[in-house]
Symmetry: C2
Subunit: 498 residues, 2 copies
C-alpha cells in the first residue's frame, strides 16, 4: 500500500510539474509576451494540458485509487494520506467522466467564444455573440450530464469550482443575503451624495503609485522576497510555488484603484505563500477551494483595506507620495473608498452592491444550464432584472449582458464563488476576533495577528479539506451570510447616516 | 514514407514544445524569478528535459529514421525533408549514444560544479574547485567515448556545438589567426595611451541608457513588437518563437557597456526573428549552429557597432540623452569604443585581444579532454601562458582560471564558437559587400541592406545546413581568418597609428 501511495504521489508531482510549466507560460503571456508570440504559446499550453489530462485519466491512476480505497492508513479523513487519495479521486473522476472529444470541443468553443465575445462587446451587440454562447451552453450541459448530478445539471458545474456546493444551497444563502442587503441598498441609494471621492480622481504619478502599492503589500505581510508584483491588463495571482508567488495589478481612474487591486491579489498571494512547501506537488498541496481563496482576497481588499483602522495607519503613506492630499483626513479617505455608486458594471461595483451582480448572474446561468432560459432571451431578461434592482436598465449590451468574460468560455458555475468569498471572509473574521490579540490588532490597524491566524487556520491546511469542510471546521458552521450582513449594515449605516 | 515523415515531424514538434516550455522557464528564472522559487524551477526544468530525452531517444524515432533513410524525396541535401531527417538523425544519435545514467550524472555534476565554482571564485581559490572540475572532465571524457570520434576525444565534444568541427581544423585556423594577430597586439601595446575612453566612465542615468538601448535595437532592425529587452545578471537571448524573441542586457562601468551587450544580443535576436515561422518546431526550424549564431551577434556588436559610420549616425542619439557629451566628436566616440586594454578578463576584453582568451581556453580544455593535462596542473599552466601572451600573470585565480563559468558545467568544446563567430562574421561581410547596396550602406551608416542580406542568406535558411556548410554555401569557402585579420589590421593600424 505504501508503494502504491508513493506511486500516486509521483503521478501527482508529474501533474504539478506540468501545471507549473503551464502556470509560468500563462503568467508570462499576460505580463510579458508580445502578441506575436501567441501561436507558439497556445500550442505549448494545449500540449502541456493534454499531457496532464492523459496522465490524470490513465487507467493506472484508476487502479491505484481502487487499490488504495481499502487502505487503513487513509481512513482518517484528516490524514495527509486520506485527503490526498480523496482529492486525487475527485480529480480523476472528473477527468475520466468528460470524454476527450468533449474536452477538445469545449477548448475550441472557448477560444472562439472569447474572440467573438471581444468583437461583440466592441460592437455592443449581443446578437454577434449569441450563436457562440448557445454552443457553449450546450457543451456545458453535456459536461454536466457526463459528470452527473442528483438534483439539477447546474449542480455538476458548481461542484467543479466549489466541492459539494449545490444550487439550492446557493439560492438559499443568496436569498437570505439579498433580503438583508436590499433595504440597506435602498437606504444608501437615498443619500448617495453624502460621500465624495472626487479628490481621489485626477492625475497621480504611476511611479509613486507603484511604490505605494509595494508598501501596501509589505503592510499586509506579503513577502516580496518570495514573490513579485507586475502589471497586466487584468489583475491576477499565480502561485507557482510557495516561494514564488506572482501578483499583478493595473492602474485605474482613481488613486486607489490600483491599490485595491493590489490588496485583493495580495490576499490571494498570502494564501499561496502560506501553503506548506513540503506538500507542493502532492494532491493536497493546493488551496482548499476557489471560494476560500476569494475569502482571502476579499478580506484584505475590503474588510481590512476599506476599514477605518487601515486608513488611520495608511493615510500617512499616501500623503507621503501625494502631499497634495495632505489636507484630507482619515475620515475623508475612509468614506471615499467606501463610496457607493450603484454601478451597472460588476468589476466597478462597490462592496455593498457587488453581490447583487452575482445574484443576477448565478440565477441566469443556472436557468440556462438547467434548460429554463434560452440564450436568445438572455438580454431581455438581464435588462429587466437590472432595471428592477438598479432602477435603470443598461443603455447597451456592452454595459449589460456582454460585460463579463466568464460566459465567453466554459466557466458557468464560477460566479457564486465571489459572493461565497465575501460570506466566508466575515465568518472567518468573526471567529478570528474571538482571539483578543486579533480583535485588538484589527481595532488598532495592526493586522499581523489576523494574518497569522489565517495562516494557521486556513493557509497551512492547504487542500486537506474542501472549502466548505474547512469553513465548518474552523467556524463551526457552513456558509452563513449573517456575519457579512451585520458587517455591511454597521459599516454603511454609519457612513451614510441613516 | 510521407506518413512516416509526418510522424517524425510530430515528434519534432513535441520536442520543440517541451523545449519551448523549458526556454520560457529558463528566461523567467534569470529575469524575474525570486531566488526562493528555485526548488520548483529546478524540478520542472529537469522533468521537461527528461521527457524530451525520453521522446528523442525512443526506439520509435530510430525506426522512423531507419525507414526514411531510403526515401527518394529526402535524398536532395537541400530539401526540407532531407535536412529534417539529417538533423533529427544527428540529435537522435547523440541522445542514444550517451547512456541515461551518464546524462543524469553530468547534470548533477554540473549543478554541484556551478555552486562550487561560485564559492571558489569568491574565495579566489582553485583548490576548492579542483575536485569538481576533475569529475567534470572525467564525465566529459566518458561522453566523448560514448559519442565516438576518429582522431581525438575532444572532437566529439566540439561536434556537439559546431557540426563537423575538428580540433585539428580549429588549431590550424587559430594558428593562422594568432600569427596575424600577435604583431598587431604587440604594436598596439606600445601605444595604449593613444586612446582615451575616460569620458565614457562616470555616472549615466540608467533610465536614459535604457531608452538609448531601445533605440539601438530599433536602429539595427530588431523588431521590438516581436520581442523585448529586459535586464539580467548575465545578458542572453532566448528565441522562443520567431514572433517572441527575448533579449537581456546589463549596465556596466561605462556608458557603452550596456549598449554593446544590447547590440550583441540584438544580433542573436535578429537571427531568431528571421527564422521562418512555418518551420518552427521542425528539425530545421532552428539556427544552423552556435558559431553561426555568434557571427550575427559579433557582427552587430563589433563590425557595425564599433564602426565609424555607426557612430556618425548614432552619436547624436547618445548626446540627445547625455548632453554633457556634446563636446565629444564622432572620432572621440569611435576611438573610445575601440580602446584596447589588454584585460586579463575575457568578458571585459576588447575586440583585438578577445580571441587570445579563446586560444588559451581551447588549447587547455583540448589537452584536459585528451588526457594530456591534469586538472591539478591547470592554474600553473594557465598563469604561465597568460604571462607569455599578456606580459603579466593573474594576481589570483579569480582573474585567472576561475573567471569563466563554462568549465563549471559540461560545456567543454564551446569556447571555439566565439572565435569562429568572429571569423564567420567577416567572411559573411566580405561576401555581402560585393552587393553595392550593402557596401554603400555600410559606408553611410545605413545597415538595413546588410541586415536584409543576412536575413536572406543566413536567417531564412534556419537549420537547412550545418554552420560550416552554410558558410561554404554563402561565401564559397570554409573557415578562413583572413578577412577578419585584414579588418582588424586596417582598423587598429588607423586608430593606434603605427
Amino acid at each position: 500500500m505504501d508503494a502504491s501511495f508513493k506511486k500516486l504521489l509521483d503521478i501527482s508531482k508529474e501533474l504539478a510539474l506540468l501545471g507549473y510549466a503551464q502556470g509560468v507560460l500563462g503568467w508570462d503571456e499576460q505580463v510579458n509576451m508580445p502578441a506575436t508570440g501567441a501561436p507558439a504559446r497556445a500550442e505549448a499550453g494545449a500540449y502541456l494540458a493534454q499531457k496532464a489530462h492523459e496522465i490524470l485519466a490513465s487507467p493506472q491512476v484508476g487502479e491505484l485509487l481502487e487499490k488504495l480505497s481499502g487502505w487503513e492508513k487513509a481512513k482518517a479523513p484528516d490524514s495527509f494520506e486520506g485527503a490526498s487519495i480523496r482529492r486525487m479521486r475527485r480529480n480523476y473522476d472528473k477527468a475520466v467522466k468528460i470524454p476527450a472529444e468533449l474536452v477538445a470541443e469545449m477548448s475550441r468553443a472557448s477560444s472562439e467564444g472569447f474572440q467573438t465575445w471581444l468583437a461583440a462587446r466592441q460592437e455592443k451587440s449581443f446578437r454577434i455573440f449569441a450563436p457562440k454562447l448557445q454552443r457553449l451552453v450546450e457543451l456545458q450541459r453535456q459536461a454536466a450530464q457526463a459528470l452527473g448530478y442528483e438534483k439539477e445539471p447546474y449542480d455538476a458545474l458548481l461542484d467543479l469550482f466549489e466541492e459539494g456546493m449545490k444550487a439550492a444551497l446557493v439560492e438559499g444563502v443568496f436569498q437570505k443575503l439579498e433580503a438583508g442587503l436590499m433595504p440597506l441598498v435602498q437606504a444608501v441609494a437615498q443619500h448617495l451624495e453624502r460621500v465624495d471621492d472626487r479628490f481621489l480622481r485626477g492625475s497621480f504619478s504611476e511611479e509613486d503609485q507603484w511604490k505605494l502599492n509595494l508598501e501596501a503589500l509589505d503592510f499586509i505581510g506579503f513577502d516580496r522576497e518570495r514573490g513579485r508584483l507586475d502589471r497586466s491588463a487584468h489583475p491576477f495571482t499565480s502561485g507557482f510555488y510557495p516561494g514564488d508567488v506572482r501578483l499583478t495589478t493595473r492602474f485605474g481612474d482613481t488613486l486607489t484603484s490600483a491599490l485595491f487591486s493590489t490588496l485583493h491579489e495580495g490576499g490571494h498571494g498570502l494564501y499561496e505563500q502560506g501553503l506548506p512547501a513540503e506538500w507542493w506537488g502532492t494532491p493536497v498541496g493546493e488551496a482548499s477551494s476557489l471560494g476560500m481563496h476569494e475569502s482571502q482576497s476579499r478580506l484584505w481588499e475590503n474588510v481590512v483595506g476599506r476599514s477605518r483602522p487601515f486608513w488611520e495607519r495608511f493615510r500617512a503613506r499616501v500623503t507621503h507620495y501625494f502631499p497634495e492630499l495632505e489636507e484630507r483626513s482619515v475620515e475623508d479617505f475612509y468614506r471615499a473608498v467606501n463610496r457607493v455608486e450603484m454601478s451597472l458594471i460588476r468589476v466597478e461595483a462597490d462592496e455593498l452592491t457587488y453581490n447583487l451582480h452575482i445574484f443576477l448572474r448565478f440565477r441566469l446561468e443556472r436557468q440556462m444550464i438547467n434548460g429554463q432560459l434560452e440564450v436568445k432571451d438572455l438580454p431581455e431578461v438581464w435588462n429587466q432584472a437590472v432595471k428592477e434592482t438598479w432602477g435603470r436598465a443598461p443603455t447597451h449590451d456592452g454595459e449589460g449582458v456582454l460585460q463579463d468574460v466568464h460566459w465567453s468560455g466554459t466557466s458557468m458555475g464560477y460566479f457564486p464563488s465571489y459572493t461565497f468569498g465575501n460570506i466566508y471572509s466575515l465568518q472567518l473574521v468573526e471567529t478570528a476576533r474571538r482571539e483578543e490579540e486579533v480583535a485588538r490588532g484589527m481595532e488598532a490597524g495592526d493586522f499581523q495577528p489576523l494574518g497569522k491566524w489565517m495562516r494557521e487556520q486556513i493557509h497551512k491546511r492547504a487542500g486537506l479539506y474542501s472549502g466548505m469542510e474547512l469553513l465548518e471546521k474552523v467556524t463551526g458552521r457552513g456558509p452563513d451570510p449573517q456575519p457579512y450582513l451585520a458587517y455591511l449594515r454597521t459599516k454603511y449605516q454609519e457612513i451614510y447616516g441613516f
